[in-house]
Symmetry: C2
Subunit: 193 residues, 2 copies
Amino acid sequence: MRTFSVPVGISNRHLHLSEEHINQLFGENSTLTKKKDLSQPGQFAAEETVTLIGPKGKLEGVRVLGPARDETQIELAVTDAIKLGLNISARDSGNTEGTPGINISAGDKKVSLERGVIAAMRHIHASEDDALQYGIKDKDMVKVLFEGPRGGILHNVLVRVKSTYALDLHIDTDEANALGLKNGDTGTVIIED
Amino acid sequence: MRTFSVPVGISNRHLHLSEEHINQLFGENSTLTKKKDLSQPGQFAAEETVTLIGPKGKLEGVRVLGPARDETQIELAVTDAIKLGLNISARDSGNTEGTPGINISAGDKKVSLERGVIAAMRHIHASEDDALQYGIKDKDMVKVLFEGPRGGILHNVLVRVKSTYALDLHIDTDEANALGLKNGDTGTVIIED
């Protein structure tokens, strides 16, 4: 068994928009305005927010992340989805086959999304150097241990390796709250050889 | 190492009220009206609901559980508490020293609670027969394993033994959603001797 430490980054509910949907929601030829950089290089929180409208409720002020993507994707905690009346499952980013849709509004503009609402599968971002150093590779599944009064071990944590990534464990608010974690806390990756 | 199976019961946010607070919120000499029995014998969900008002937000339709208790106690998921603007910690039931207060309203009646908002520490209810059969005792701390795509192991699960208890693992909505659990799913208790 080998172990190494990762910093915890908690993802609040958010969405990624296609250029087409950015134009439909914020006006023709509009672009996202950067509010602040995120831990992964090139990614940013935008000034733009939307309202998500599901069959049972709505969520206001949901943050758009940039840059634009090929396909619109909405990442919620399961707690959020239950409030909206949606049944979502944990998916790797981009795997939206068979996922529920939702209505997205910004001011008086609206987009009706046919699919793309997921619970992001918990995952570790790692650079190629990190992967070499820690003996992991893209698509590995590992376990991560957390200490503390609400400690425990999360299984099935997906490893994603890319030269531009910074080492970071991304979990959602349900996972963080269940385990008593805050941004910047540390988890211990467990690799069972 | 020994193991045994427990059924999972998910506690939505709820509160227990003292007789004094029942009278203040629902009228002099009022009592709670049973809506349905809960898994633990004698405990019930009441018809009565309240609004919880915190420094940053409010939650409507929060269910009162009966019967009345000596002290009012509000059990929230951390996700709920963040919405209300409260910083809560995982506590054993009844251990409300140093916990935040909140305003409770029902119609035009209001109670200002000085303390008593907690995240219930995850726990297993077991009868004395269960305890004998599975080799556990009151106040033991055990681990519980869950299978599935969001599986994992929760540490520091408190054992509570009482003759009237039915075997049940109680977790909150954050814990259930983080681990992909539904009511009636099964966990495996792990006892490391």
